[in-house]
C-alpha cells in the first residue's frame, strides 16, 4: 500500500462535520487543517448547508476535486455506506475515526469495512483511531490544536495501536527534542496493520527510524512483520504492552508453559534485530539515539565526566546492559593527561571513566572525548556533562558534537533537561548528537545502537 497521498494530501474531506457543534471531532479536524496545514479542506454532511460561510457538501461525490484523504467521523452504522461513496469517488485513502465496531461486539460492521477495503484494494486506517499526524502536511487528530504538544519535523515515524499513548509519547518526544516524520494511530487496525505501515515506512524518504507501540499482532502477522523488519534498511523499535502471562491458562506441555506470549515476542524481536523498548522511556531514548546514528556498535563505551559519582553510576548501568567499559592503554592515558589544562592535570583521574573533576573546562572535555574517540576498542563516547560547574560554557555542546563530524565515532551526552541548559543541549542536538535527560537514558541510547540489527 502506498500511503504517500494520505500522509501528504493536497485535498481532504472531513465527513461528519456538524453544522452547530464546534467541539465535534470532525469540526476540530476541519478547523485545524483549514487554518494550519497546506491542504484544501472540504466539509461533508448529508444535510448540506454552510459552516462559517464555507459550503458543506452533502456527499463526498459532490466535491469538485479528487480527494486525497477522507476522514470519517460519523456514527459506526453509517460508516460502511460512507466508505462505498469514498471508493466510488476515487478517494486516495480513508481514516475512520469512529469507534463502536469490534470493541463493542459489532463484528459485522468491522467485517463490512474489511470487505469494502479488500474489494477495492482501498487503504483504511482505523476504525477507532486518531489517524495521521504528518508534520507540515496534515493532522487528523481530533484534539484541538491549542491542547496538543507537537514535535517538530524529524525522521522518526511512530505507529501506535493506542491513540492515547501516541499523543502522550508525542509530548515526550517534543520535550526531548526528537522530531517526527509521521505519527499514525491505527486503532482497531481492521485493514491497515503494522505490517502495511512498516513496509511503506521502510521506503518513505522522510523516515529513518520506525517505532511501534502495539498490544499484539493479529493471527500469523507477527511472522510476516519480523520478516519485513529484517529486510527494512531502517532501524525498527517496538514496544509491546500486555507483557504479563495469563497464569491461570492451563498449559499441557513444558514448552507451552515456558514459551508464553511475551517471552516468545521478546525473543523473536531480538532474533531479528528489532530493538524492543521495555517502556516509554526506553522508546524515547532508543528513538533519539537511532535517529542520529544508524551504524551498529559492539557496545564498548568510553566515558568522560566531571564527577566520580556520575562515572560509577554509569559503569553500573553499563554492566547491567552488557556494555563494556574497557581500560585505556597506558600511552593513551599519558597523552590525555599531557593535553589537559594545568588546573586539573594532576587531579584528574584518567581511567575509564575519565573524571575531569569540577574544575574542568570546555577544552578538557574536548581533549578527553577526542582521545577516547581515537581508540579502536571504544566504539561510543559517553559524555556526562555537568553544566553547573564553573568553567564549562554554553559552547561545550556544539564543540563536542564537532568531534563526531571529525572522527565519526558516535557520541551520546547527558545534560539535565532544564531551561537554563538549553543552549548546551541544542548545541549537541542541532548537530545531530543525542542528549539524554538522565545517565540511565544516555546508556539506553548506547544500548539501542548495540541492539539494532537494521543499523
Amino acid at each position: 500500500m502506498d500511503f504517500r497521498t494520505m500522509f501528504e494530501p493536497k485535498t481532504m474531506a472531513i465527513i461528519g462535520v456538524s453544522l452547530h457543534n464546534d467541539r465535534h471531532p470532525a469540526n476540530v479536524i476541519y478547523n485545524k487543517n483549514r487554518f494550519r496545514y497546506p491542504v484544501k479542506v472540504y466539509a461533508v454532511n448529508p444535510q448540506g448547508g454552510e459552516y462559517y460561510k464555507e459550503k458543506v457538501y452533502k456527499n463526498i461525490g459532490d466535491i469538485p476535486e479528487k480527494i486525497d484523504l477522507a476522514i470519517i467521523a460519523v456514527r459506526a452504522e453509517h460508516v460502511p455506506g460512507v466508505l462505498e461513496e469514498c471508493v466510488e469517488s476515487w478517494v486516495g485513502g480513508v481514516v475512520v475515526i469512529s469507534g463502536g465496531f469490534s470493541e463493542t461486539g459489532r463484528h459485522d460492521m468491522r467485517d463490512e469495512l474489511i470487505r469494502v477495503a479488500n474489494e477495492a484494494d482501498f487503504p483504511i486506517i482505523g476504525p477507532n483511531c486518531l489517524g495521521i499526524y504528518s508534520p507540515s502536511h496534515v493532522d487528523s487528530f481530533f484534539l484541538p490544536s491549542e491542547r496538543m504538544v507537537r514535535p517538530g519535523q524529524g525522521n522518526v515515524a511512530i505507529v501506535s495501536q493506542s491513540g492515547g499513548i501516541l499523543v502522550d509519547q508525542m509530548v515526550k518526544y517534543a520535550e526531548q527534542g526528537i522530531g517526527l516524520s509521521r505519527a499514525v494511530s491505527i486503532g482497531n487496525k481492521a485493514v491497515v496493520t503494522e505490517l502495511d505501515l512498516l513496509k511503506y515506512l521502510a521506503r518513505d524518504d522522510q523516515t529513518d527510524v520506525i517505532a511501534f507501540y502495539m498490544e499484539g499482532f493479529g493471527e500469523g502477522q507477527g511472522r510476516e512483520f519480523v520478516n519485513a523488519a529484517s529486510r527494512s534498511p531502517k532501524p525498527v523499535i517496538v514496544m509491546k504492552a500486555g507483557k504479563s502471562e495469563a497464569g491461570s491458562r492451563a498449559v499441557s506441555s513444558h514448552t507451552a508453559s515456558i514459551a508464553g506470549d511475551y517471552r516468545v515476542f521478546s525473543s523473536i524481536m531480538k532474533q531479528h534485530g528489532i530493538v524492543e523498548a521495555y517502556d516509554e522511556y526506553e522508546m524515547l531514548n532508543f528513538s533519539e539515539a537511532l535517529s542520529c546514528y544508524s551504524k551498529p556498535i559492539k557496545g564498548r563505551v568510553g566515558i568522560v565526566t566531571a564527577s566520580g559519582g556520575h562515572g560509577v553510576v554509569a559503569v553500573d548501568r553499563c554492566n547491567k546492559s552488557d556494555l563494556e567499559v574497557p581500560l585505556l592503554p597506558d600511552d593513551r592515558q599519558e597523552i590525555i593527561r599531557e593535553k589537559l589544562s594545568n588546573s586539573i592535570k594532576t587531579i584528574a583521574s584518567i581511567d575509564n571513566p575519565i573524571d575531569l573533576t569540577g574544575s574542568a573546562q570546555d577544552d578538557d572535555f574536548v581533549v578527553a572525548a577526542r582521545q577516547l574517540s581515537l581508540i579502536d576498542d571504544i566504539d561510543c563516547v559517553l559524555i556526562l556533562l555537568l553544566p553547573y560547574i564553573p568553567e564549562v560554557t554554553s559552547d561545550v555542546g556544539a564543540r563536542l558534537s564537532q568531534l563526531y563530524q571529525e572522527t565519526k565515532k558516535p557520541i551520546v551526552a547527558y545534560v539535565p533537561h532544564v531551561e537554563k541548559y538549553m543552549m548546551i543541549i541544542e548545541g549537541f542536538q542541532l548537530n545531530n548528537v543525542p542528549v539524554a535527560d538522565s545517565i540511565e537514558g544516555a546508556i539506553m541510547m548506547v544500548e539501542a545502537m548495540k541492539r539494532c540489527g537494521q543499523c
Binding site: F217, R223, H254, T255, A256, A259, Q271
Partner: protein
C-alpha cells in the same frame, strides 16, 4: 515432508489429542533424530527379553493415553538394575489408569536439556532450547527462536542460556558436542515445520547431551484442536 508412517501415527493419535510416547519416538527417529534403544513392552516377558539384550541399568516409563505427565504419577522409574526390579516396576505400572504397556529404554548420561516447539498464534512455529529435566518450568532457563532454525543460530541460542557453563564442561565434566546439538536442533526444527498444521506443542525433555550423543530420552507431542 511427513512420511506416510508419520501421517498414520498422527491420524491414530487424534482421539487422544496427543501422541503416545512410543509413537512420538517413532516419528522422531524417522526424522533422523537420535532416540534411545527402546521397546514398547506390553508384557513382563517382553520387557525382560529386551533387558537381557540391552543390559542394565534401564529406564521404564508407563504408556497410557490417560497419563500425559508420567513423572507426576510415578510413571517414570530410572536406574532399574535387576530383573526383579524391572518386574516390580512393570507390575506397579499395570495398576495405573489407561495402562497400555511400558517403554523400556537404555539409561543415558549427559546434560539434561529441553528441546521444544510451540505453534504460536502470532509467529507460527517457535523452537525452545534450554536446561531440561523436571525443574524446567521453575528455572525457565531457555532460549526461544522463530523456526526454521539454521545451524548457525544454535550457538546464539546456547549463549542465551544462563546455565550454559553446564554445556561447556563444568568442573571437569565432559562438554556437550555442539556440532551434534546443532544438527539435532536443526533436524527437529525441520520436522516441526512439517508438523505445524497438526501439533500445538512438542516437548523433548530431557534430551541427554554428552560429548558423543544428543539423545531424546522422552517426548511429548500435543496435537492441536483441529485434530480432535
Amino acid at each position: 515432508m511427513l512420511t506416510d508412517e508419520m501421517k498414520a501415527i498422527l491420524e491414530k493419535s487424534k482421539g487422544t489429542g496427543w501422541v503416545l510416547e512410543p509413537d512420538a519416538m517413532k516419528i522422531l527417529s524417522i526424522a533422523g533424530l537420535d532416540v534411545p534403544e527402546y521397546i514398547h513392552a506390553t508384557s513382563v516377558g517382553e520387557a525382560e527379553t529386551f533387558a537381557s539384550k540391552a543390559g542394565y541399568p534401564l529406564v521404564a516409563k508407563v504408556v497410557s493415553p490417560d497419563i500425559l505427565h508420567k513423572s507426576d504419577v510415578g510413571g517414570v522409574v530410572v536406574g532399574i538394575s535387576s530383573d526383579k526390579q524391572l518386574r516390580e516396576t512393570y507390575k506397579g505400572f499395570r495398576e495405573m489408569k489407561g495402562f497400555a504397556g511400558a517403554v523400556i529404554e537404555e539409561m543415558l548420561s549427559g546434560v539434561e536439556l529441553i528441546v521444544g516447539a510451540k505453534i504460536d498464534s502470532q509467529f507460527g512455529p517457535v523452537i525452545v532450547v534450554g536446561i531440561g529435566g523436571v525443574g524446567v518450568e521453575i528455572y525457565k532457563d531457555t532460549a526461544i527462536r522463530m523456526a526454521p532454525i539454521k545451524k548457525e543460530h544454535v550457538p546464539s541460542m546456547v549463549a542465551d542460556i544462563k546455565a550454559r557453563k553446564l554445556l561447556e564442561g563444568f568442573r571437569g565434566s565432559e562438554p556437550v558436542d555442539m556440532e551434534r546439538l546443532s544438527s539435532m536442533v536443526v533436524a527437529f526444527s525441520k520436522l516441526v515445520m512439517d508438523l505445524a498444521p497438526f501439533v500445538e506443542s512438542i516437548d523433548l525433555n530431557p534430551v541427554m547431551c554428552s560429548g558423543s550423543r544428543c539423545v531424546i530420552a522422552d517426548a511429548r507431542m500435543i496435537l492441536n484442536n483441529a485434530q480432535g
